[in-house]
């Protein structure tokens, strides 16, 4: 069938598969569309590509003019040097365990609070919830100075407690997000459990929490990203190298070895790689979690 025949069929309304008829007209715009998106993707990926490829170059090649993307000589030793020069492994472990504790505790306690706000009629519920909401507007910089002084009083400065405890016990965004979901759970489920003799705690653990799985995972991923990449609070609250989280280690590396571009590129690659890998694997959940966190606000 020629295109003119198809056009004719479509015009007369007798063509069965409509999309086949449209395709010839749309082909060029579609190609252009893909070309545009591809160009954008290349621009987005280029800095990463440059970082990864540079991390394998010997130092002389970094200075070649005009710059070349691909290394002529591959030099994986840069990675060994980077790992030895700055304490990556320790930074990695510090970041990981802090983020995991904060995610687990803050998501769980936020779910508890969300349940209270959504389902329990206690005195002061409305105003308190408004206070939680209002704090979403407060920039961290306003509270960071007093927080530093309070944590100093508690002798928590230069300990991981300064990063773990406040973040674990206060997650206003999480409380707000999860409350929306608790409200969507049919109350009959809880009533049925109550008739079977379950108390509040039991209802929360056996009825509510399992149903909150999806938003909790999304919130958890969101919280993890924030913690893992956090720079401001660790920079202010930590002094000892051995306590540094990964972003601080990379930054310290940059300062100490700033002329060593190969090492810095290897360091940056090592810091970025874990999350990039996790992202490629769990892309769907991360993206949905983020879309959901915004649309519910």
């Amino acid at each position: 069938m020629t295109t003119s025949e198809l056009d004719h069929l479509e015009a007369t309304g007798t063509a069965q598969p409509k999309h086949q008829a449209e395709r010839p007209r749309l082909r060029w715009t579609r190609v252009l569309l893909h070309l545009f998106l591809l160009a954008g993707a290349v621009v987005m990926a280029l800095p990463f590509a440059w970082m990864v490829l540079s991390s394998f170059k010997p130092l002389e090649e970094i200075f070649i003019q005009p710059p070349k993307l691909l290394p002529k000589v591959w030099q994986p030793e840069n990675y060994r040097n980077a790992l030895e020069a700055a304490d990556f492994v320790r930074g990695f472990v510090n970041s990981l365990y802090i983020a995991v504790i904060v995610v687990v505790v803050s998501v769980f306690t936020a779910a508890m609070a969300a349940y209270a706000f959504a389902r329990i009629r206690f005195t002061g519920r409305g105003p308190l919830f408004m206070v939680f909401l209002a704090t979403l507007m407060v920039p961290v910089q306003l509270t960071v100075i007093p927080l530093y002084l309070i944590l100093g009083r508690l002798n928590w400065i230069d300990t991981h407690l300064a990063l773990i405890v406040p973040a674990s016990l206060f997650n206003a965004f999480g409380v707000f997000l999860l409350r929306q979901y608790v409200r969507g759970i049919p109350i009959e489920l809880e009533e049925a459990a109550a008739i079977d003799g379950a108390g509040r705690a039991r209802i929360f653990l056996t009825v509510i929490l399992p149903l909150l799985r999806t938003p909790m995972v999304a919130l958890g991923i969101f919280t993890f990203l924030g913690q893992w990449n956090s720079f401001f609070h660790p920079l202010i609250f930590l002094n000892s190298d051995s306590l540094f989280t990964l972003p601080l280690v990379v930054n310290q590396f940059k300062g100490t070895y700033s002329s060593d571009w190969t090492g810095l590129m290897a360091a940056a690659t090592l810091a970025a790689a874990p999350l990039l890998i996790v992202f490629v694997i769990a892309q769907r959940q991360i993206v949905e979690g983020i879309a959901l966190s915004g649309s519910k606000s």
Partner: protein, 316 residues
């Protein structure tokens, strides 16, 4: 628990005729209060100790002179006077606004274009991977990459510019280019997040509306202008409010790119808070800057929420 059961007499007097008190209703109320506050306890403690307490303390500090060690002394409004008069602080405020002016619309417009086009193709997740990757990368790693890309002698960016015959500035050292350079990195890093949000918003645009417009012979541009953008407006408002707040708080780029002693032309408001409080130990002045920042953000957010009546459409 047993004590609450034994004290039903403590229920409020049943004078309120409109509310016939069922037996045990006061007890139930007390039980609800107890349960409510027990469930709330961890986050409530956090709210009080790590948010409300510091908030009040911040205001007190902003009217104090204090270096964290000796006695705190009353400063009145002198810290705020310093904030308004200090030429460096004024430059930093200008830089912050300039960064916001460049990065917020830059990110939103490009995110809209990409999201709009992405929605028309298959293999969305393929493209999304590329656009979103910078979002999950830590700012420090991002800055390390761009530090090299921006390098005037050995960086590929300027090599490219020179090849096409454009001027190749010293991005991070030239006062005119340092803030645009930060904005470029900000757009690159923030784009993916906004694309994802806008795609989620675009999915809520009812197909029937677009098809009806098709039948009426509407052009692509008309459909976008009259249907898609109005229906996306709540998402656009959300993104503009949150990204203005975010860009006013820009700190990491400056600290990582420029180090602990950034030149005047590259400093931002939050960099000044950091400097005053944690380098110079002037907690009063640092807090005063933070109070100003908060007030500015409140005002800007308020303005955007007021303006929304004119352009934001909610379905339902």
């Amino acid at each position: 628990m047993t004590t609450t059961v034994r004290r039903p007499t403590r229920t409020p007097p049943r004078s309120g005729a409109d509310k016939p008190a069922r037996p045990g209703s006061g007890q139930r109320r007390r039980r609800d209060n107890l349960a409510g506050y027990l469930f709330l306890a961890p986050q409530l403690i956090g709210l009080l100790v790590f948010m409300l307490g510091p908030l009040v303390f911040a205001v007190v500090l902003s009217v104090s002179h204090w270096d964290g060690f000796g006695a705190r002394s009353w400063a009145g409004l002198s810290n705020f006077g310093t904030v308004l008069q200090d030429p460096q602080l004024r430059t930093s405020a200008k830089n912050t606004i300039w960064y916001t002016v460049l990065s917020v619309p830059g990110t939103m417009v490009s995110a809209f274009v990409v999201a709009y086009l992405l929605q028309k193709v298959k293999r969305k997740s393929f493209y999304r991977t590329f656009y979103f990757a910078p979002v999950v990368t830590s700012t420090v790693a991002v800055a390390a990459i761009w530090l090299w890309l921006f390098n005037p002698e050995i960086g590929p960016l300027n090599a490219l510019l020179r090849r096409v015959g454009m001027p190749a500035p010293d991005w991070l050292q030239d006062a005119r280019f340092v803030i645009p350079a930060f904005a470029l990195v900000g757009i690159w890093q923030g784009l993916g997040y906004q694309i994802v949000m806008m795609m989620a918003g675009l999915e809520n645009v009812p197909r029937t509306l677009l098809e009806a417009a098709d039948i009426d012979g509407a052009s692509e541009w008309q459909k976008m202008r009259r249907i898609t953008i109005p229906l996306l407006s709540p998402t656009i408002l959300f993104l503009s409010v949150t990204s203005v707040i975010g860009s006013f708080q820009i700190f990491d780029y400056i600290y990582v790119f420029m180090g602990a002693n950034a030149p005047a032309s590259s400093r931002t408001v939050v960099y000044e808070i950091y400097q005053k409080a944690f380098v110079e130990f002037d907690f009063g002045l640092g807090s005063a800057i933070a109070v100003f920042l908060f007030a500015a953000l409140l005002a800007l957010t308020g303005l955007q929420l007021l303006a929304q009546k004119r352009w934001v459409h909610y379905t339902e």
